[in-house]
């Protein structure tokens, strides 16, 4: 797309993620062990799995918020640690209720004691479609608007890697669809790892879909949906992939009765 934003002339380098031997455990309870995977630069990877499979912990570990277990090796594709080069978007929008939308978008600079470029803030709020509510406090915004502010705040950080933890799960279907498209458009230059529990969301957006099951080990099985994102959810190919994912999520001999498997 002809989106040459003048406010960020120097595009940061694309950065992939390489994870080797990842082990995630809660005390004695090992959730994931010896897991290895790569995420190509500027690609969108989705991580699917049931609750309690360790998805969020995995994401937090990559974000540097949780200590990785001893054997794990997490790096960016340039061989350096990831720390400081990721932006994080959590399940909740995490807007600070005492700041207005604009101040929330500029939060990173505020926290680092820098001055945010007001033109850039405004430009990003325009691109995420939230410019009209610039002065509103989070309490006055709808769920969709709040996630738009959160998205603008993520983009404001201008990091090569974006980690997202079910950012749209609390939204209604229509708003979710719109925000998925918006995120896809705005994050096309980033390497994205998104955790979700919604197979359709993963299939719409991802280049690769990884399915994790509790106690998973070794290399990550990945699924590469055909076509380019954002895909049309009514596409039959997508429904087939959906069935395949559901089969992988709950490996029981029940393929025939899954919704969508008939297509």
């Amino acid at each position: 797309m002809p989106d040459t934003e003048p406010e960020t002339p120097a595009r940061r380098d694309a950065l992939g993620i390489a994870v080797r031997n990842l082990r995630i455990a809660w005390g004695e309870d090992v959730l994931l062990d010896g897991l290895s995977f790569d995420i190509a630069p500027r690609s969108w990877a989705c991580l699917l799995g049931e609750s309690g499979a360790g998805k969020t912990t995995l994401l937090r570990t990559l974000a540097g918020l949780a200590e990785p277990q001893e054997s794990s090796d997490i790096r960016a594709s340039d061989g350096l640690p990831l720390t400081g080069r990721v932006a994080y978007m959590a399940q909740q929008d995490l807007l600070l209720p005492w700041l207005d939308a604009t101040q929330n978008v500029a939060l990173g600079a505020r926290l680092r004691g820098e001055t945010a470029d007001p033109d850039r803030v405004r430009a990003l709020m325009e691109r995420t479609g939230i410019a009209a509510r610039a002065g509103a406090r989070p309490g006055e915004l709808s769920g969709g608007e709040r996630q738009r502010v959160a998205l603008a705040r993520t983009l404001m950080e201008d990091r090569p890697v974006v980690l997202m933890d079910e950012p749209f799960s609390a939204l209604d279907a229509i708003t979710r669809g719109r925000l998925q498209e918006l995120a896809h458009e705005l994050l096309c230059d980033c390497t994205v790892l998104m955790v979700t529990h919604d197979p359709y969301e993963a299939l719409r957006l991802a280049h690769r879909v990884h399915v994790i099951t509790r106690g998973a080990a070794g290399d990550w099985p990945a699924l590469e949906p055909a076509g380019s994102a954002p895909r049309d959810p009514s596409d039959p190919a997508l429904r087939e992939a959906y069935a395949a994912i559901m089969a992988r999520l709950s490996p029981r001999p029940s393929d025939g009765e899954r919704p969508g498997a008939a297509a």
Partner: protein, 252 residues
Amino acid sequence: MNLLRPAIVFLGLLTAWQAVVSVFDVAPFILPGPGAVVAVATERADILAGHAAVTLGEIVLGLVFGTALGAASAMMMAYFRPARSWLMPALVVSQALPVFALAPVLVLWLGYGMAPKVAMATLIIFFPVTAAFYDGLRRTEPGWVDLARTMGASRGAILRRIRLPAALPAFASGMRVATAVAPIGAVVGEWVGSSAGLGYYMLLMNGRVQTAAMFAALFVLAIMAVALYFLIDAGLRRAVSWQSDVDPSTSF
């Protein structure tokens, strides 16, 4: 109208008071009627105002010191583990000892002036502010801190920009309690030993069986305390206007 209800309650109480006085024919030195109290209050307005200023000064100074001390110790406890283990027992002991019991000692040490009353008010205010603010500082939404960490915020920035503002509503609750109890400290101090203040004046009038004057002082104290509470409450509401107000009686 917001003021209608309190006005009705107030007038109702006045009427009941007058009724008790008239019906049971109470001696004026036991319970004077509202009319007598108002008469004394207007007649001695100057004297009452002078004493009220002293008491108000004690309360306000106590609030300032108590709040500052409470906020400081809450932050110490939240950020330095050793401070927590040393301060907590001291705090609990300071609250287990009734301030009333400390009053004579404070007067002995600090004299008959305003100092022991301010100290007393400070002691009373200090605890609710510390407890509430400390609680607020510990209950920061963990997601906000996570987010700030991925943004490269320092510990100090997280404290200043996230934990402190997030703890403001809790701090405000502590301040409200503190404001409501602050007059107790000042008045108790005045009772134990002083030469000015509404508490002193009430005791003096009590001794002289000028019950109406005593009631007049009591009312001035009550009005002052209520006005102070509403003033501080309004200020706190403005400071944490972003906090969503949910009425539990209508939203279940």
